[in-house]
Amino acid sequence: MMPNISENEPVLHAENLIMQFGGLVAVNGVSLDVYQKQIVSIIGPNGAGKTTAFNCLSGFYTPTSGTIRFMDEDIHTLPDFKISLKGLVRTFQHVRLFKEMTVIENLLVAQHRHVNTGLLSGLFKTGSYKRKESEAMERAKHWLNKVDMFDVANREAGNLSYGQQRRLEIARCMVTEPSLLLLDEPAAGLNPNETQDLNKLIVGLKEEENISVLLIEHDMNLVMEISDNIYVINQGQPLASGTPEEIRNNPDVIKAYLGEV
């Protein structure tokens, strides 16, 4: 889905995000911009507050202060499901599939907003209901093929291999037709081959589906290869930002990762 904002405006603009849990400031003054058709990564050591920042952006936490603008709208006060309806969809660090449902059902549930949810129209199978259902099926089919999982469409999601589960989670986000996808450590637990496939998949999302991707990842090869822009967070504070090249040579980043030399 092409965002209806101008080319040089950011899709997502977060400013001075602060998230405080009692005395602990998990995220302290993080600002970031994601532009159209960009892959942006957030990196940082464990416990740096990356996932907390993600939870703020996707509405799972309401930030203590700061503003989040998505597609020219303030979203930091909205509940999570409304943010997702606006086209900002996320995955989770630990795969969260509907495990006892089949792959195709997972993809259909995700399209809840696209289908006709009227009770009577469903009971009587009206024309609009059938059309919407078959559209949903088509979209599901399209994404099954994209992530190469057509053969397992009727398998229960919980029985898939880990790599397949990861891919299904991304496909499940994509059937909602988002304009920004938030991926929380998508490569965690994948083998090098699977990571390579994931790399292609994410770049494909940007090139073919025209969406932006915001990524948390520890796999530096992946991050450096596909990112247009990188933000580094350390202990809740923004440490650096820039192109992969700049980040690679930034002494502060090296210090944060490797410790004082």
């Binding site: 996707s58 799972f60 999570d80 499901f81 409304k82 997702s84 309806l85 969809v89 996320r90 995955t91 989770f92 969260r96 599939l97 509907f98 495990k99 006892e100 449902m101 089949t102 195709i104 059902e105 259909l108 549930v109 995700a110 809840h112 907003r113 289908v115 006709n116 949810t117 009770l119 469903g122 009971l123 099926m137 089919k141 399209h142 099954l144 093929n145 057509f150 469409a153 009727n154 229960e156 499940r172 986000c173 909602t176």
Partner: protein, 424 residues
């Protein structure tokens, strides 16, 4: 085509083998001994016609089925066409089976005893309740221990509406369902944030509140004395009693011109329950395959993932509570009409527990399971009457053993298999 001719000849032969000895030959006793005789000419002609119909149908099977819209267009690749036709066959077979089953269920009461029909009607009420609670517990995964409250709301709706406003069963049935749904909606609001144990406690409390309210609101509900002489349902204004109770009604046996028998009423109530159950089964079967049904299950599986995908959990939980309660309301209405007398005694916690046991025993989320379990839960205690005071002990033991051997239930729910054609 050659294959078709062979196939058709074969089926025609089978038809002959099956029909000729049965219809074309008859045993006639001549002078005290049996002899075989050919049947008369018209029977022979009928057999001949039947054989030729089978032959022609099998010869042009594809074309005929295609004309009836039961087969995909033959331009599809062979494998896919084959696959689809087998699926079609399966669904047609399933339909035939369902119709046969329904016919059996409807014909059955005409050849069994009154007591058996009465028990079957009770089973059907529990099937309805089980199916309703199955939405809340089995599909949406919300543990509701106060489901009997909605049952009570439905029953008292009809009792009170008929006592104070003189409404008939058929008017009160939808109203009772809707009132129960309203109560489900109202209960849904405060408990939305609760999960698991906490939800169970609150719903348990709600069930008790309704019962205690009915017990103490003597001026309206008659308190522990209950409400008696609730009119039985009528069939297009026909009553099933010996004498007309309400003005303007006629009597069933008089209209039909048959002698009065008290079993007509029992059979009528039974068939009414069957219709209500079929209606419930149909609606819930569709709901499960609709977006709202998928959302219920998704919510049970992972609430956080649902939120991240833009599903409004408030609306989804409320819909589960409301729709589940509505079916309890229908069941309650019917219960009041069947009993003719209700009191808060009928709506104690043990009823909730039994309904919940039906859902769990059958297999969460499974409709077939609920039906089997409802039969088991009602019929087994009756069968065990021979054990006198050890009856409930036996019953409890059976439940325990069941949960050890088959914790997933009698007929666990199966995921719908979706046929997808890959034309990409």
């Amino acid at each position: 085509m050659k294959k078709n001719i062979n196939h058709s000849l074969f089926t025609a032969l089978i038809t002959f083998i099956v029909s000729f000895p049965l219809l074309g030959l008859s045993l006639v006793s001549v002078n005290g001994s049996l002899t075989i005789q050919g049947a008369d000419n018209s029977t022979m002609i009928m057999i001949g016609v039947a054989i030729s119909i089978v032959f022609i149908f099998q010869l042009y099977r594809e074309k005929i089925l295609h004309m009836l819209g039961m087969l995909p267009t033959p331009s599809l690749p062979f494998k896919q066409a084959y696959k689809n036709s087998s699926l079609e066959k399966r669904t047609t077979l399933k339909k035939v089976f369902m119709v046969g089953l329904i016919l059996c269920v409807i014909i059955w009461p005409f050849m069994s005893s009154r007591g058996a029909i009465d028990l079957a009607t009770l089973v059907l009420i529990y099937v309805m309740l089980g199916l309703g609670l199955n939405i809340v517990v089995g599909l949406a995964g919300l543990l509701d221990l106060g489901y009997v409250a909605f049952y009570a709301v439905g029953a008292y709706s009809y009792a009170l509406l008929s006592e104070y406003l003189g409404l008939s069963f058929w008017v009160a049935l939808p109203i009772g369902g809707m009132l129960a749904a309203l109560f489900g909606f109202l209960l849904g609001f405060p408990v939305l944030r609760l999960r698991g144990d906490y939800l169970a406690i609150v719903t348990l409390g709600f069930g008790e509140i309704i019962r205690i309210l009915l017990n103490n609101f003597t001026s309206v509900t008659g308190g522990p004395n209950g409400i008696s002489s609730i009119p039985k349902p009528t069939l297009f204004g026909m009553e099933f009693g010996r004498r007309v109770k309400e003005e303007g009604n006629t009597l069933f046996h008089e209209v039909m011109g048959i002698a009065y028998s008290s079993s007509y009423k029992v059979i009528f109530l039974y068939i009414l329950a069957v219709i209500l159950v079929i209606f419930t089964l149909f609606v819930i079967h569709r709901l499960m395959r609709m977006p709202v049904g998928r959302a219920w299950e998704a919510l049970r599986e992972d609430e956080i993932a649902c939120r991240s995908l833009g599903l409004n959990r408030t609306a989804i939980k409320l819909s589960a509570f409301t729709i589940g309660a509505a079916f309890a309301g229908f069941a309650g209405c019917f219960f009041a009409a069947r009993q003719g007398f209700i009191s808060p005694e009928s709506f104690t916690f043990i009823e909730s527990a039994i309904i919940l046991a039906i859902v769990v025993l059958g297999g969460m989320g499974s409709q077939v399971g609920v039906i089997l379990a409802a039969i088991a839960m009602t019929v087994l205690p009756e069968l065990a009457r021979g054990f006198d005071e050890y009856r409930m002990l036996m019953f409890g033991l059976m439940m325990v053993l069941m949960m050890i051997w088959r914790p997933q239930g009698l007929a666990p729910a199966q995921r719908p298999h979706m046929e997808i054609k890959n034309d990409a």
